[in-house]
Amino acid sequence: MTTAYTPASEPSGGRSGSLRGRRTGSILADRAATVLLWGTGCFVLLVLGSIILHFALAAWGVVSVNFVVGDPSETSLGGILPILWNSVYILVLTMMISVPLGILGGIYMSEYAVENAITNAIRFAEESISSVPSIVVGLFGLILFVDDLHWGFCALAGALALTLFNLPLMTRLSEQALRAVPLDERSASLALGATKWQTIRHVVVPLAIPGLVTGVILTAGRVFGEAAVLLFTSGIGTPVHYNFLNLDITNPASPWSPFRPATTLAVYIWKLNSEGLGIYVRQVVDGSAAILISMVLIFNLGARGLGRLLTRRLTAA
């Protein structure tokens, strides 16, 4: 039997000719595609690598301990301590409000929700907020907190606007982390006679902690770099020396108070680009951008690393 066997379908068809010719053409296309796809991977790595290299070089002479803990100065390079403080302060404030809300929301969506109108509405709301441009969220914060409630520019307005911005992602990540807990654990707990809330509190949430922690850190990274929202809510001040010993949180002079305008790192970069004066502007911006990117790097890689560590420690995996 020497019948030539032709494969059932030759999708790349159109090429009449010998079987061997068609095969070669397909193999050639496959090789070319493989090269192209590898090329995209390498391209992305190349772009990222060159960006990081660019900032590392640009910030080489700029970023030092003095830069991080010093105060801004008109006459010398100075430092960015007040601005870095504001970034961290607003981040912590935002997380304090949005993490509990997000985790509770995630618990509802993964444990209690059934397919009804309310759940659909919540999902639609979640998707809507996450697609609203950040500048519109900033303008909303401007209208509500800064203008209507007469707070003026303050860190609290910025934190609340960022909470709005952050909540959908936090809820979605919490929901995913909680859903990832196997059904067996819940069934076992219920079989022991625990109530649903006891199951959630003592079994599901502890098992989901690695995923929740990863979610918190990822959203923190996003919040840290946000500028458009804060431009309209926490203001663009001129950084001055902060007296950290002033613990009176109702006094706008105290860096611990939420009732004062607070310029963060990303907003500071924007401000220096718009109105920077002095020969050190470009260096300060490069240094600030380098610090911003390294913080984001730390948050991202830290999230992965911490998540893996916690998973290993807390579960048997």
């Binding site: 203008d147 003026g152 520019f153 001129t238 109702t250 009732f259 718009s274």
Partner: protein, 317 residues
């Protein structure tokens, strides 16, 4: 009606978030209730109340917290004065913010801040009713200079008529005004900016500016300076402080206007006409720390020393 619903919604949110301390720590309480949407804007035919820089003791230390917001052109001056004042009066806290002249006027009219800095008069922006509540304090005179990229050689002066021809798009190449064969690239400020409206009024006499592919619009002095230095054949208008900044001066070609050099003394003397007053508005007559700070702004420390060092002209001799 919906306006009322919005007010109720805002009050409801305020009740839920116990954060009225934001504005309550201010030294001067706002006497102005929030009105409903203002009526149609009047053009600048209403004569403003006279500015009142009467000589007062220059440094009376008061304590309390106030916030100044608004013009980014005045921000360096106000911040420097605030820092100097706070260094000498330890009970005082003066927070200086940017946000633009419009923001400053809105917020001082609404009572969110105590001092609104502005490059333009309140009457030209606010409704008559709101503008009438504000008291004007003129603290400095600021000047602007027309600059070009260094590659526009041979052009050191532009007359008013040449400016009009260039900025309305009638002349599109530098060789039409005595320069090299290079297309003219116009770099505007945003049309809402005080700088642009001052330039249009004083130099262009209200002529319609060019639009199209040979024009750019950049946000603020710093962004404009960057754009001019990076773009061949570019021309724009920047503040004196930015031109005299040692980082920028070597990279820019500053032009005379009608043969007059752009210097602080020419501006103060009135021969250089591209200049305007810097206003600090308060809601009603100021008292307490606000009044003390404004008196300080009009005193010899600021007018005699600080203002000339920042390339403004004093208003009190």
């Amino acid at each position: 009606m919906l306006n009322g619903i919005r007010r109720i919604g805002a009050v409801g949110v305020a009740a839920a978030l116990v954060a009225s301390a934001c504005s309550s720590s201010a030294a001067t309480p706002s006497p102005v209730p929030v009105t409903s949407a203002p009526t149609v804007m009047a053009s600048a035919v209403v004569t403003p109340p006279p500015a009142t820089p009467t000589p007062v003791p220059t440094l009376s230390c008061q304590s309390g917290n106030i916030t100044a917001a608004g013009s980014t052109a005045l921000q360096p001056l106000v911040q420097a004065a605030a820092t100097a004042y706070q260094n000498q009066c330890s009970g005082a806290t003066i927070v200086v913010n940017g946000g633009g002249s419009g923001t400053g006027l809105s917020q001082v009219a609404a009572g969110s801040v105590q001092i609104g800095d502005s490059d333009v008069t309140a009457e030209s922006k606010l409704a008559t009713a709101d503008a009438a509540k504000l008291v004007d304090h003129i603290v400095a005179k600021q000047g602007w200079i027309v600059v070009t990229n260094l590659d526009v050689t041979g052009v050191k002066n532009l007359t008013t008529q040449q400016n009009i021809d260039i900025w309305t798009g009638k002349d599109t190449n530098w060789n039409q005004v005595g320069g090299p064969d290079l297309p003219i690239v116009l770099i505007f400020r945003p049309s809402s900016s005080g700088t642009r409206s001052t330039f249009k009024k004083i130099v262009l006499g209200g002529a319609t500016e060019a639009t199209g592919g040979q024009t750019l619009t950049e946000d603020s002095n710093g962004a404009v300076t960057t754009a001019v230095t990076k773009t061949n054949g570019a021309v724009s208008v920047i503040g004196f402080a930015y031109y005299n900044d040692p980082a920028n001066k070597p990279l820019l070609n500053g032009l005379q206007l009608d043969g007059i050099d752009a210097t602080v003394s020419n501006m103060a003397g009135g021969t250089y006409k591209l200049a305007a007053d810097g206003h600090m508005y308060t809601n009603g007559q100021p008292s307490g720390l606000t009044a003390a700070f404004l008196a300080y702004m009009l005193g010899p420390n600021v007018q005699g020393t600080l203002i000339p060092s920042l390339s403004y002209a004093p208003v009190v001799k």
